[in-house]
C-alpha cells in the first residue's frame, strides 16, 4: 500500500500542537510505516504538494497565514484544524479587543529599554498583520476539528489512527477537552 502523504504547518500558534504530535513518542516510528511527511516543520520541503491529510496548528493573524492556509486547502484532501488557536483563535486572539497599531506602538515605540530612534518595523518583507486573529474555518472549509491546548499525544494518535484506516475520527471522552 502506498503511504499516505501528510503535511503540517503552524500559523499563529506556539508549536505546542506540533510538540504534541511528537509526544506520540516511539509510536512515531510506527506512524512512519504508513505515512510520509510533505511540507512540515520537521522536513525541508518548503511548498506543500498534493497530500492526503493536512494538519494546521494556529489561527490566522497575518496575510502570510492566509496564503499558506489556502495553499494547504487547495492541496490537501482532508484538512484538520488542530488545537485551540486553529479552532477558535486561542490565546493570540486576546489582542482582538485592541487595535493592532496600538499594540505595535506599545511594543516598538513606548516600550521600556528601547534604543533611541526605535520605530515600528515596516519593511516590505514583513507580512501585513490582520486587524484581528481568526480561527481558520472562517477562511477555508475544514473537515475535522481536534480540540485542546494542545490536544495530547494520545488524542492525536487516536485521531490519526482512525483517519489512516479510513474511519471517521472520533475522540473518546477523556481526550475531548481544552486543557
Amino acid at each position: 500500500m502506498a503511504k499516505l502523504k501528510v503535511a503540517t504547518t503552524s500559523l499563529a500558534g506556539c508549536f505546542g500542537c506540533h510538540m504534541s504530535i511528537l509526544d506520540i513518542d516511539e509510536r512515531l516510528l510506527d506512524l512512519l510505516e504508513v505515512v510520509e511527511f510533505d511540507r512540515s516543520p520537521i522536513t525541508d520541503i518548503k511548498e506543500v504538494g498534493r497530500c492526503d491529510i493536512g494538519i494546521i496548528e494556529g489561527g490566522v493573524c497575518n496575510a502570510e497565514n492566509v496564503h499558506v492556509l489556502r495553499d494547504f486547502r487547495k492541496q490537501c484532501k482532508v484538512l484538520v484544524s488542530m488545537g485551540a488557536c486553529a479552532v477558535n483563535g486561542g490565546l493570540p486572539a486576546l489582542r482582538n479587543n485592541l487595535s493592532i497599531a496600538q499594540i505595535m506602538d506599545h511594543v516598538y515605540l513606548d516600550g521600556m529599554g528601547l534604543a533611541p530612534g526605535s520605530a515600528v518595523p515596516n519593511d516590505p518583507e514583513i507580512p501585513l498583520p490582520l486587524n484581528k486573529v481568526h480561527p481558520i474555518h472562517e477562511v477555508v472549509k475544514i473537515d475535522y476539528f481536534l480540540p485542546g491546548c494542545p490536544p495530547s499525544g494520545d488524542a492525536i494518535w487516536e485521531f490519526l489512527t482512525d483517519l489512516v484506516i479510513g474511519k471517521t475520527p472520533t475522540l473518546s471522552h477523556d481526550h475531548l477537552h481544552y486543557d
Binding site: G16, D44, E64, I100, H106, V107, I126, C149
Partner: protein, 484 residues
C-alpha cells in the same frame, strides 16, 4: 566585516532576491532573504522574524495569577521556561523571597526535565540530519524520518530521551505541554511516590544515552574540526546566568557577560537590574529586537546566549560527568556556531545528572509547597531557557491586575549573532556561486545551530499589497486590512 552585508550598498531594486522561506527544522517561522547582483555577488543577507503577537500589551489588565499559564502559551517547545520565569517574577510580587525546599526543587526538576527534552528534540529531531547526511544531502532524506531509516538506534535514542524529559514535565507540571505546576509563591504539587519510582528506574539509562550523545557530536567534530571551527564563525561576547560561586545553574543566578577573549564585561549582576545593563534596538525589517550591552553600544555590545555561551561562561558544571565533558570541550573548541551542538549535549548530560540528584532528594516529595510575604508591585524573573537567558518583568496594581509587562525571550538575545553567522556563511559558501538548494541549506544549518525559537508564521508574500480583504468560503468579508 560581515556586518556590511546587513544593508546593500547599491539600490536594492537593481539586485535579485532569493528567499529561504520558511526556514525549516527550527521551532517557529523565520525567513532569510539574500540580495545578489548579476555576477552572483551577495550584497545583503537578513534573517527576518515575522512573528508579532503582542503579548506584552494584551496581558495588561489580566490578573497576575493567570500569568504562569497564560505566558507559557508564548511557546509550545519550552513552555516551562515561560511558566517558571513568570512564576519567579511573581514570587517577588507576592513577597516569596525564599521558596520552600520542596517548591524550589520541584521547579528545578520541571526545568531540567525541559532542558533534557528540548535539547534532545533539537539535536535528534531537527539538526542531526544535517550532521549525519551532510549539509547538501538529499532533501527527501534530510529529516528525522531519514535518520530513523538510516540510523534506527540513534533515532530511537533521541525519541526516548525526549520522552523521558516530557514525562518529568508531566509529573511536575500536570501536562507535557502547557502545564500548571508552578504558581506565584511556590508549586501546587510535589512528586508522587509512584512517579518518583518510575523516574528512578529510568534515569541511569538517560545519563548513559546523554553521554553517548556527547560522544556522537565529539566524533563529528573530530572528523572535521576545521569545519566546526570556521563555519559561520564570528567572534562575539557571551552572556548567561551563573550561581554565586560561578557554577552553571539554569534555574537561578546572576548575569555574567564575557568578551570574545574570555574577559569579564560584568559579573553577578542582579537580574532585577537587567534594564541598567541591556538596551534593545529595533530595525525596520524584522519584528525581533536586537539587545546589546548598553555600555558597549549596538556595534560592539551584541552577544550570544544559550548552551555555547553558558558552557564557555561558567567556571564549572556542578555535576561530575558533565564537568569532565566541559573540560574536554574547552580544550578542543572555540566559540563558532557549530560548537553549540556539542555544548548542548553536555548540558543535556548535566540535566540528566541533575534530575537524578533531585529525585534522590526526599524534599521532592515534601508537603510544604507555598510561601509568601509582603506584597510588592514590581518583579523581575530570569531563567536560563534551553535557548538562552529569558527575562520577564511585570508591574501589578493594587487591584492585582497587570499594568506593565516587558519580555526579552532567549532567541531575541541571539538575533544579531544569528544574523552575523548567516552573513558569514553566505560570504564563505554562497558568494559568486550558483545557488543550489544544498548551498542555501548551509544558511539554515547556521541558524539551526542556535536552536532559535521563532514562533508564528511566514511565507512568500511577494510585493506587499496596500489592502487585503479576507473573505470566508461563502464570499462574506471577514476582515479587511490596510497598511497602517
Amino acid at each position: 566585516m560581515t556586518s556590511t552585508l546587513e544593508n546593500a550598498q547599491v539600490p536594492p531594486q537593481s539586485l535579485r532576491r532569493v528567499a529561504i522561506e520558511p526556514v525549516s527544522r527550527v521551532e517557529g517561522h523565520g525567513k532569510v532573504t539574500l540580495l545578489l547582483d548579476d555576477d552572483g555577488t551577495i550584497h545583503q543577507v537578513r534573517l527576518h522574524i515575522v512573528e508579532f503577537r503582542g503579548f506584552e500589551k494584551f496581558i495588561e489588565g489580566r490578573p497576575y495569577w493567570e500569568l504562569p499559564v497564560l505566558v507559557s502559551r508564548l511557546c509550545g517547545i519550552c513552555p516551562v521556561s515561560h511558566h517558571l520565569a513568570a512564576s519567579k517574577a511573581l514570587d517577588v510580587i507576592v513577597g516569596a523571597t525564599r521558596l520552600t525546599p520542596t517548591a524550589e526543587k520541584m521547579r528545578r526538576l520541571m526545568h531540567y526535565g525541559q532542558q533534557l527534552q528540548s535539547h534532545a528534540l533539537h539535536f535528534y529531531h531537527l539538526s542531526s540530519p544535517d550532521l549525519l547526511f551532510g549539509f547538501d544531502s538529499e532533501v527527501a532524506q534530510r529529516n528525522i524520518v531519514g535518520v530513523a531509516m538510516a540510523y534506527p538506534e540513534i533515532a530511537k535514542q533521541g525519541i526516548l530521551l525526549r520522552k523521558f524529559g516530557q514525562e518529568v514535565i508531566r509529573m511536575t507540571a500536570g501536562k507535557r505541554v502547557h502545564g500548571t505546576g508552578s504558581v506565584p509563591g511556590g508549586v501546587n504539587r510535589s512528586l508522587s511516590k509512584a512517579d518518583r519510582a518510575t523516574l528512578r528506574a529510568g534515569i541511569d539509562q538517560m545519563i548513559e544515552w546523554s553521554q553517548a550523545s556527547v560522544r556522537i557530536v565529539e566524533r563529528m567534530h573530530d572528523d572535521n574540526p576545521e569545519l566546526f571551527e570556521s563555519f559561520g564563525a564570528v567572534r562575539s561576547n557571551s552572556m548567561g546566568l551563573v550561581d554565586a560561586g560561578g557554577s552553571l545553574d539554569l534555574y537561578h543566578g546572576g548575569l555574567r557577560a564575557k568578551d570574545p577573549d574570555g574577559n569579564l564585561i560584568f559579573d553577578h549582576v542582579d537580574y532585577g537590574t537587567y534594564d541598567q545593563v541591556l538596551t534593545e534596538q529595533v530595525k525596520p525589517w524584522t519584528y525581533m529586537k536586537f539587545p546589546y550591552i548598553t555600555d558597549l553600544g549596538p556595534d560592539d555590545g551584541w552577544y550570544k546566549v544559550g548552551p555555547l555561551a553558558r558552557v564557555r561562561n561558567c567556571d564549572r558544571i556542578p555535576t561530575p560527568l558533565a564537568e569532565a565533558e566541559r573540560l574536554t570541550f574547552l580544550e578542543q573548541t572555540g566559540d563558532a556556531p557549530l560548537n553549540f551542538h556539542w555544548a548542548r549535549m553536555i548540558e543535556m548530560l548535566f540535566a540528566a545528572e541533575t534530575i537524578k540528584e533531585l529525585i534522590d532528594d526526599d524534599d521532592i516529595s515534601g508537603q510544604d509547597l507555598m510561601t509568601g510575604g509582603e506584597r510588592r508591585t514590581e518583579g523581575v524573573g530570569v531563567i536560563e531557557a534551553p535557548r538562552g537567558t529569558l527575562f520577564h518583568h511585570y508591574r501589578v496594581g493594587d487591584d492585582d491586575l497587570i499594568t506593565m509587562a516587558n519580555l526579552i525571550v532567549a532567541t531575541t538575545n541571539n538575533n544579531e549573532a544569528m544574523n552575523r553567522a548567516v552573513r558569514e556563511v553566505a560570504r564563505q559558501y554562497l558568494d559568486g556561486r550558483e545557488l543550489t538548494e544544498g548551498l542555501l541549506n548551509h544558511i539554515e544549518v547556521a541558524i539551526r545551530a542556535f536552536d532559535p525559537c521563532l514562533s508564528c508564521a511566514t511565507h512568500a508574500l511577494g510585493r506587499m499589497p496596500l489592502e487585503v480583504t479576507l473573505v470566508d468560503p461563502d464570499g462574506t468579508v471577514v476582515d479587511r486590512l490596510v497598511k497602517e
